[in-house]
Symmetry: C2
Amino acid sequence: MSDQTDDWTRLTTGLRQQAGIEDVKVSLGLLQRIGQVLRAGNWDVTAILDMHSWEQPQGPPRLIDLHPGKEMIPPPLWAAAIDIGTTTVTVWLVDLITGKVEAQTAQYNQQISRGEDVVSRIIFAGKDGGGENLRQLVLATINELLGTACKRIKADPPLVSTDILKATMVGNSTMMHLALGIPPENIRLLPFITTANQMPQLTAHEIGINIHPDGTIDCLPGVASYVGADITAGVLSSGLNDTEQVTLFMDIGTNGEIVLGSREWLVTCACSAGPAFEGAGVGDGMRATKGAIEDIWINDANLEPTFRVIGNVKPRGICGSGLIALLAEMFLTGVIDKAGNFNSNHKTSRIRQGEHGWEYAICFGADTGHGEDIVITHVDVDNLLRAKAAVYAGFTVLAESVGIPLDWVEQVLIGGSFGKYINVEKAIEIGLLPDLPWDKFQFLGNTAVRGAYLALLDRGARSQVKEIASRMTYIELSADNKFYDAFISALFLPHTDLSRFPSVEAAITNEQE
Amino acid sequence: MSDQTDDWTRLTTGLRQQAGIEDVKVSLGLLQRIGQVLRAGNWDVTAILDMHSWEQPQGPPRLIDLHPGKEMIPPPLWAAAIDIGTTTVTVWLVDLITGKVEAQTAQYNQQISRGEDVVSRIIFAGKDGGGENLRQLVLATINELLGTACKRIKADPPLVSTDILKATMVGNSTMMHLALGIPPENIRLLPFITTANQMPQLTAHEIGINIHPDGTIDCLPGVASYVGADITAGVLSSGLNDTEQVTLFMDIGTNGEIVLGSREWLVTCACSAGPAFEGAGVGDGMRATKGAIEDIWINDANLEPTFRVIGNVKPRGICGSGLIALLAEMFLTGVIDKAGNFNSNHKTSRIRQGEHGWEYAICFGADTGHGEDIVITHVDVDNLLRAKAAVYAGFTVLAESVGIPLDWVEQVLIGGSFGKYINVEKAIEIGLLPDLPWDKFQFLGNTAVRGAYLALLDRGARSQVKEIASRMTYIELSADNKFYDAFISALFLPHTDLSRFPSVEAAITNEQE
């Protein structure tokens, strides 16, 4: 009775005296509960604070939760790293105390039903209620993944997603806009300006992500409409920002983003490769799942194919790595010429006129999983050529922009799930990758979610990624005539200028001998 | 195309260059709209910012809204001052540009249907769903008042409450807790501790108040469970914190809060007067509305009453000022003695035995608005005596706590709507107010809403009210034996110790002569 201090002042006094925290922010939702918690713990409580605000590094910490009782040995403190891919959403569940990733989950972005690529999503978002529909779909995807990840943790009581106290989120700029309900329309319209590359720090409750409602969601910063937070996160986790070697970093997913640089300088562009190498835009294309042809060889003599299918089942289609191999094999065996035209002079029933013009039959219906022929058509080849030409033209323009030849590149770091499966030799043969020694290529997997994970653990990483975003020079290719010229030159197999691909030149010569 | 800066950076750059604002906060809801607004204004926009955070005076300003186009002459900038009384909620609508109050509205707090006083509200809040129900009721009241206030403004297009960009809010601690959905139970339980006397700065959206969703709601600070933000606001607007005179400030509404002090020192207490003087706890009591007896005289010879009724209609009951006058008249004419007992020896049909014991009939059914007698019973008199004794005991203990006699008080400032109607002479005669020269009393009306209004206009006033809250010494009367003794002594008319009321002593002597 002699001390009439209110609950909140008692709590903040404790934080000041025991932890040196001078000032603290709190949500109304948590304030509504603190009286009960303080008394349930008989005035011994454990406070969980987010000490570091993304936007205001010098600002006050935020109280996220308060538990009754003193917890001298901290429990796992759960956090999530979220990568919103146009095609696939990935969630890593992390124990902040140990720093370990305890569960990894991924599934298709449910927005796919509304369009395969960012442009079709932006168009859909412009329809009445479309943006809200897309927001709900991606939130549903994220929330399902969070639930799945929690189920993988053995805990008693079972872990639920609201036990997760913080998250970092990356994705391309369109995905970030859609997830936050920000209209993405200007990303598609000239001059391609985002609403924000650096989103403010938000709570889970504000966004609608089903972790602890007061949990912070830190969206990593992007650079431009087509170089988003997934790329800055990728630069961080690939170490590109901290290497002395001239490095080419690429993330060829549904979009194709490229970064060239080192610790001294960084230039970046997006080359709108389109989703051909993810299996879309190709009639029998499919994702790299069970039943996909993932590698293929064509017999030089009779043009009969041999292939490897994911899961060792009858094939149902062909995925990105298979398409690269197929294009390379068709080129080297003369099924197609360097412009991608089918050679109708070969004596084989596999090269034939189909519904969409000339095509090559990879597998006849009798041997496929669905009973129909798997083929690659002239249209498919054109789409693949355009995709690979866009990527290669991107490299070219970036290198030219800083005045260095491509063969000065000391290492090539390939992010994105796509990179995991491709065969460097064959990717060089079609002119998708520059002709460098194979040991200079490294496949890093999902660099975006790994960058989000690093930013979750380490405030140093958070400042680094901000610094990366601010010092990346973005080159808008659609404003650049050089890109168009480079693209046209790259529409050939491997390239108009064969001197750029000496190893392929040698291979062609060998074949021809 | 050559400048790929995102919308948000363009806006913040403009704020930095044109207004010197280095950093700015924004809600997700507003961020979702800025792309459209910037383009609608062809990159000329008018930004509305809350420059001063209540909690973090040094923190960054917050963007509240953005309008397309340059508005060189600012329009009215609307804000609201809200006082949540236990009985009455008051809203003032203010133009921040001119500082003028453009509309004043008040209505009963809809929570009244769940209990007349704070204690019954707290008990109701403890029931399942009770707290949420009370929250909804007070928000509905506030939102209706905001709507009403807007309708009073002649504007084209019509003003709507979401045009209001900021609000300040005051009320006793229970009202503040209930409006924010914070369980108030510990306010009633020993040792009477609030969850928070100083609420964090919140947005209208978070609380559910129907002004602009990003509008800031600043809740003024309280001092203790029974001395809330309405009292600190009252001290501010009464000028008590800035006077050299020893001043007694009282706000006798449903609760009775008292402050004694000057610019040098401030002590305060709450005396749980109860709502008797607001007409509750008195059988024929009513609020000061049409049909209420507001003043009364009793003929010394035949004990016949003469009274004045609000609205000049047949009476339906008696309000606070009427009750004070009635108690004084009954005492001075000997209808009741100094202990409040009825004198059954008088020869008049007005003093009689009723259902609840002895009573005085103020008006017979033939002359009332509802056809029934209006009476004051022994039980009513007891309730009024307890109420006035609690208030007087509060003065006594406060004065004793700082070691000064009550007659050193140089001015008495009376806040609350109650104060507007009472007759000082009669209030002294019953011992409700201390026996000081009448010219020392000032009636200030609703000092709480006026304090909220001052805090809305002036950040200096906001710092003052924080400073007032921090330097007020709260005396918890229920922990104080002196209060109980003072209360018992004050249960007489005007007081056990008649020497404290020399003017009343003289009046009694005159009557007896």
